[in-house]
């Protein structure tokens, strides 16, 4: 599963609920100034970031420099792969200007669930479809 596929799944899961209200924003909202490092490549941090305002660079380190792979903004989720399966961060994420984001950790999954328990069902259904697809792809190999 590519990072993009997973992001689409998470988007469906979260956004279909319109789950973000003032209480959630107060509790989990963070503001990052320009050029702040949100995620570092190689780390095993387990936070998921939902960009509310602004943009971030998705970069990969090459020597002493960071090569920009992509720029993502409002409504995008980042860091989602590590959130559930403890995978190693595959990119470095740096704020491009001021960024507002909701930041969830594994420890406060309970709060996300409380904000919108229904998104769990959508996420499970989306993951199940992806698993069925991958099993089909494996079976098609000879």
């Amino acid at each position: 599963m590519s990072g993009r596929d997973y992001t689409e799944i998470m988007k469906i899961a979260f956004q279909a609920e319109g789950a973000i209200n003032d209480e959630v924003r107060r509790k989990f909202g963070h503001t990052y100034q320009d050029k702040t490092l949100l995620i570092r490549e190689g780390d095993i941090g387990q936070q998921i970031f939902w960009i509310l305002e602004g943009e971030v660079y998705i970069t990969r380190r090459e020597g002493n420099k960071y090569k920009v792979l992509n720029t993502v903004g409002k409504g995008e989720l980042i860091g989602e792969m590590s959130f559930f399966d403890k995978s190693v961060r595959s990119a470095t994420v740096i704020s491009k200007g001021t960024v507002e984001a909701l930041v969830f950790s594994r420890e406060n999954f309970q709060d996300i669930f409380a904000a919108s328990p229904q998104w769990t069902k959508r996420l499970l259904a989306s993951l199940s479809s992806r698993i069925q697809l991958m099993i089909g792809k494996l079976q098609s190999l000879r």
């Binding site: 559930f84 669930f113 328990p117 499970l124 259904a125 199940s128 099993i135 079976q139 190999l141």
Partner: protein, 135 residues
């Protein structure tokens, strides 16, 4: 597992060598499993087998239940195993009142999908050629 979660399903004991289900089996009734104790092997029907071993606290059997399709894999008890199982409605109720169950289920599916994805990539990748010295 808490009593709150358990009240929506039933407990099951399986001897070593028991197939809980096989690929292609129809899905009905108590079709979603949670391992309380023991060891289960998921078997994908591939020419080159891909066993996936499931330990206590794992949940399985959910994918086909949610998609309403025949079993995509087999599930085989390697050891004496104690399981808990739900039907779709019971699981929905249990996961709607328990964030731990919801989290563990999502994490389990994510990890399973990661295994499948990595295995697919690995099987697509050509094996590096090895030549003895002096050839």
């Amino acid at each position: 597992m808490t009593e709150q979660e358990l009240q929506y399903g039933e407990q099951l004991r399986a001897e070593p060598g028991t197939f809980l289900y096989k690929p292609g089996d129809a899905v009905s009734g108590m079709s979603i499993y949670f391992i309380v104790a023991g060891l289960v092997r998921l078997e994908l029907p591939l020419a080159d087998p891909l066993p996936v071993y499931l330990h206590p606290d794992s949940i399985f059997g959910l994918v086909e239940t949610l998609l309403a399709c025949p079993r995509l894999t087999g599930a085989y008890c390697l050891e004496s195993t104690i399981l808990y199982r739900w039907d779709r409605e019971g699981f929905d109720l249990a996961s709607s009142v328990s964030w731990e169950l919801a989290f563990n289920t999502i994490a389990g599916l994510t990890q399973y999908l990661r295994v499948l994805n990595a295995e697919f990539s690995s099987r697509l990748r050509p094996s590096p050629a090895v030549a003895p010295k002096g050839t």
